[in-house]
Amino acid sequence: MLEIIYRYPDLSLFLALMVIGYSCGTIAEKRHYKSIIKREQELVKLMVVNAEGRFAEGAVRTSFLVNGSTVVSNDYFKRLLAILRNIFGGRVKAYESLIDRARREAILRMKEEARTRGAHMIVNLRLETSTIGRSANKKNSIGSIETLAYGTAVVMNRP
């Protein structure tokens, strides 16, 4: 066993990274989803729409920009799946959960900011996604995605 590791150091490293990537990635994802669902249920009453808000005169007390952003990292296992997908084509299923988590987390953070500042709703929601860390370490880069959610928080003139 040790001899094999000694003879093929990079192959063993590759396998170790795969195992770590899969196990840690799966645990992290499960925990993240659990927390996302819990917080979404807590914040479900705060309305978020991506429509432009139109309000009657005097209905709005104040409005301000809120945003939430999050960065989620890829792991070696997902990257391997994506590389293999690049050969055959089709949906890169491994990355779907990554994007989904980042998007929902960003919206949640934005909503949290709006709630602490006393907003009643968020209009004009926009989402932006970008990759980071790809050019930092060219050859064996493990990229991350950043999702930014921003919108206009509105505080109503309610009694």
């Binding site: 249920q41 309305m47 799946l81 590389i83 293999l84 989904d100």
Partner: protein, 318 residues
């Protein structure tokens, strides 16, 4: 419009497929593709190899390896000659102009390079005891030429490496892994090729020397150092002990005589005057590394890291 807060169960944005299942399908597909490619490459190489004339092979050898006329070793050539003389008249080997060379290298090995260059490493000569034994090694290499194994190996190794690079790109981790895998599996002749060359070598040795003395000596000595059989289960080379057994069975079956061997001359044992001719010349990778000729060329040409090159090594202390 009334806003009704409602938490949505389930998730349409993420596929339900288990990642390990997906990995299984993708890797399975890749292995299947590689297998089909490998088999078709094998078949087409076998067809092509039978049709390649010796003159084209000589040109190929010179093109790839460069001219090595100056390196010809007379003492070794003297051992080769009786073997060549005893070849049957219709043997295709007569078309080659064989050149036996000694290369200074501690490895106990010999190579058959395209174009009739037989390279024997000095490590082999240092521990060899008889002329018959070295002649057996030369005859074994002649067997590779007779079966054109060296060309078969070239075709597959080259094809697979090029395919891996085209598929994944030169620098990607996947191509690194794939080429490593292919080069590992292609770095030696197959067990069948080795055994066939052994049989050919034995017949030639008996034809040249009149008896089978010394035929098994080399493998027997290597077998003592080879140790456990377990690594050889996966290796492409048969275990030396198995080769000795096969050869002995063949000797018994054919009823070959086993006579006394001729001790190896001092000229061959130590005689490496030609390596001193160009001490400042940098030795080629195939001379220094553990790699066989063409893998070294391929790896150098395509900048693939050879599989057995140590990636991490401690600095030398003086």
């Amino acid at each position: 419009m009334k806003f009704t807060p409602k938490h949505i169960e389930g998730n349409v944005n993420v596929s339900k497929t288990h990642p390990l299942a997906e990995l299984g399908w993708l890797v399975g597909g890749l292995v299947l593709l590689a297998l089909i490619f490998y088999l078709s490459l094998g078949v087409s190489t076998d067809i092509a190899v039978a049709k390649i004339p010796v003159s084209a092979e000589v040109w190929l050898g010179e093109h790839f390896i460069g001219r090595m006329d100056a390196l010809e070793n007379e003492s070794l050539q003297r051992l080769l000659q009786p073997l060549l003389d005893s070849l049957p008249a219709d043997s295709p080997l007569h078309e080659y102009r064989f050149q036996a060379q000694v290369v200074e290298n501690e490895q106990i090995n010999a190579l058959a390079l395209p174009g009739g260059h037989i390279v024997v490493f000095s490590g082999l000569l240092k521990q060899a005891e008889s002329e018959n034994e070295v002649a057996m090694v030369l005859a074994h290499e002649l067997g590779h030429y007779a079966h054109r194994d060296h060309l078969r190996r070239l075709g597959r190794g080259l094809g697979l490496t090029v395919a891996a690079i085209i598929l994944f790109g030169q620098d990607s981790a996947a191509s690194d892994l794939a080429s490593k895998f292919f080069l590992v599996s292609e770095s030696h002749y197959s067990r069948e090729q080795e055994s066939a060359a052994d049989r050919f070598g034995l017949e030639l040795l008996v034809a040249g020397y009149g008896h089978a003395g010394g035929a098994t000596d080399f493998f027997a000595r290597v077998g003592k150092d080879a140790g456990s059989r377990i690594p050889y289960l996966l290796a492409s080379h048969p275990h030396p002990d198995d080769r000795v057994r096969e050869l002995q069975e063949l000797i018994a079956a054919r009823g070959y005589r086993v006579d006394a061997v001729i001790p190896l001359g001092q000229d061959l044992r130590k005689g490496l005057p030609l390596s001193k001719e160009s001490p400042d010349k940098e030795p080629a990778s195939w001379q220094t590394g553990k790699l066989h000729g063409f893998e070294a060329l391929i790896t150098r040409r395509f900048k693939v890291r050879p599989y057995n090159q140590k990636k991490f090594c401690l600095p030398k202390r003086h």
